[in-house]
């Protein structure tokens, strides 16, 4: 139903470390691979091998450049998928009841059998986390791999979202953000995790860890040069060149 649950027993979500992400897009590929063959309609591509390929993805990696007031600019790779918001506007706008948020774990899902493909939920999401599939005509979004995380038919280490499982840099963490004692909650507290676009009042569950401060060379830290006069071969070369 499109009413949001008053409370959720768990707040399952992702913590994404912008310090660690190397922008390899492995999570994008593994997300597509898993989700095109599991929950709901496949994630279709149009003109996949042609000049203008377009396709449905549930996770995308942007790359930005941040320039501080002083000092060099820095590249930040920025993966983005559904943030499983507590006040998910995408859910309450849905006219058919297809979009819903689960009270047991807070995951926001689309029941494709009810979706009429109006696209209003995608308009309501500030983060671009929902894409209407061009072939199936139904709304697709991150399911937090609901068909992996509780799946007893796969090895235990695989019972995390596909993006988390595949990230070679360890930039993605999965857990219960409603439990202050969970690893992800502690990580968010330690690293000052933030909400995206808080002014949109969606209260996202997923958190982003800003890049750590880079080391800076301060005066006096560098060693003094040991040798001023060239010796050996370089001394000979020096002399020889000067003689020319």
């Amino acid at each position: 139903m499109t009413a949001l649950p008053k409370t959720c027993q768990k707040k399952l979500g992702l913590v994404i470390d912008l310090d660690t992400c190397v922008g390899c897009h492995a999570c994008v590929v593994n997300c597509k691979e898993w989700n095109t063959s599991n929950y709901g309609a496949p994630l279709s591509d149009t003109d996949a091998y042609g000049a203008n390929p377009v396709g449905t993805f549930l996770n995308r990696v942007h790359s930005y450049e941040v320039t501080p007031a002083e000092g060099p600019a820095q590249t930040v790779h920025f993966p983005k998928s559904c943030l499983h918001c507590e006040d998910a506007p995408c859910v309450s706008v849905c006219p058919t009841g297809a979009s819903y948020k689960r009270s047991e774990d807070g995951i926001v899902l689309v029941n494709e059998d009810d979706c009429m493909g109006c696209g209003l939920c995608a308009w309501a999401c500030p983060y671009g986390a929902r894409e209407l599939d061009a072939l199936a005509g139904v709304m697709k979004k991150c399911t937090l791999c609901v068909d992996r995380i509780y799946n007893e038919n796969i090895p235990e280490e695989d019972r995390v979202p596909a993006c988390v499982r595949t990230c070679p840099a360890g930039a993605r963490h999965f857990g219960d953000l409603g439990d202050p004692e969970s690893d992800v909650s502690k990580l968010v507290a330690a690293r000052g995790g933030v909400d995206l676009m808080p002014e949109m009042e969606t209260r996202p569950v997923n958190k982003y860890l800003p890049p750590r401060k880079k080391d800076e060379l301060t005066k006096g830290e560098a060693l003094a040069p040991k040798s001023t006069e060239p010796k050996g071969f370089l001394a000979w070369l020096d002399k020889a060149l000067e003689a020319l």
């Binding site: 139903m1 499109t2 009413a3 912008l18 203008n52 390929p53 377009v54 396709g55 449905t56 995308r60 990696v61 942007h62 790359s63 930005y64 450049e65 941040v66 320039t67 501080p68 600019a73 820095q74 590249t75 983005k80 506007p89 309450s92 706008v93 849905c94 006219p95 058919t96 009841g97 297809a98 059998d113 009810d114 979706c115 009429m116 493909g117 109006c118 696209g119 209003l120 995608a122 308009w123 309501a124 999401c125 500030p126 983060y127 671009g128 894409e131 209407l132 599939d133 199936a136 005509g137 139904v138 933030v194 995206l196 676009m197 002014e199 949109m200 009042e201 982003y208 800003p210 890049p211």
Partner: protein, 290 residues
């Protein structure tokens, strides 16, 4: 936002249709027989045509009937319910006026209120979206209701009422164009807040996440219209308000005058609705550096 023809026709035609039906439901003008038949044909034609156009916006229309289920929470669902309710409630009143030479005022009034509700809920589909700051303002429902009232008055042949309303709605539209430009900045979203990197410095897009286009870019990062906005505002405003008012005030209230004024009004409203969508900027465009 992408100005899809389906939603432009949907909002324009249902606004006109329900506006006209509301006036008729309230008994302005109190018509019977052939005139009533002609006016109800227009009212029902516009409203049903607009609702029909809206189904072209659905990628999976076979589930459209489910849109009646979530009226407790969803404005779109409320719009669906009230639209059908309005059409049904006005019907006996219309039938009595057209075929029996009488009327059912109670149902007429109730139906008129439902018509207003249908227009209001339509406007709230857009006004509820914080993600599109230029829509998320009380001006949106006020203007939608204003357009419906003015257009309905025009089509029902109430010359003086139509002229007054057109002037008021025209001024309101002008005001909303003047102030609307600030709303995005006032909402406070920027690429810095969108990425949570505000503490580190200013952010710009280095590389987009995909080389081609996608649903988000096509649907919500439409920018073509902004270039011609100024010109289109003049054309839309001229056709929707200025020409009809001039015609109504200067020419005798002949059927032909009304028909030309009404036709011009509809063309103008379509252009203005196109702008309503094309000019609206969705916050997701920030992620794409737009």
């Amino acid at each position: 936002m992408y100005p899809a023809p389906s939603v432009i026709y949907f909002t324009t035609l249902t606004g006109l249709g329900f506006g006209l039906l509301a006036w008729l439901g309230f008994g302005y003008p109190d018509v019977i027989g052939k005139t009533a038949f002609f006016l109800y044909l227009l009212g029902y034609g516009f409203a049903v045509g607009g609702l029909f156009a809206s189904t072209y916006h659905l990628a999976n229309p076979k589930n459209a009937r489910k849109a009646f289920s979530q009226w407790r929470t969803s404005w779109l669902s409320r719009e669906a319910v009230l639209s059908v309710a309005a059409l049904v409630i006005v019907a006996p009143h219309a039938f009595a006026q057209v075929f029996l030479g009488g009327s059912v005022p109670a149902l007429g009034w109730l139906g008129a209120v439902a018509c207003i509700g249908a227009v209001f809920t339509t406007s709230m589909i857009y006004a509820q979206l914080k993600t599109v700051p230029s829509w998320a303002t009380p001006a949106t429902p006020l203007l939608f209701l204003g357009y419906a009232a003015a257009g309905g008055a025009l089509f029902s042949g109430q010359v003086v009422m139509a002229a007054i309303l057109l002037v008021f709605v025209g001024i309101a539209q002008l005001g909303s164009w003047q102030l609307g430009g600030e709303l995005f900045a006032e909402a406070g979203a920027s690429l810095e807040t969108a990425t949570g990197l505000q503490g580190l410095g200013s952010v710009r897009q280095l590389e987009p996440p995909h080389s081609g286009t996608n649903y988000l870019l096509k649907e919500m990062v439409f920018q073509v219209g902004r270039k011609h906005a100024e010109k289109l505002r003049w054309i839309g405003g001229g056709l929707a308000f200025i020409l009809p008012v001039v015609l109504l005030l200067l020419l005798p209230p002949h059927f032909l005058t009304l028909a030309i004024a009404a036709g011009s009004h509809v063309a103008g409203v379509l252009a203005i609705r196109w702008l309503f969508f094309a000019e609206a900027k969705h916050v997701v465009s920030l992620y794409y550096g737009k």
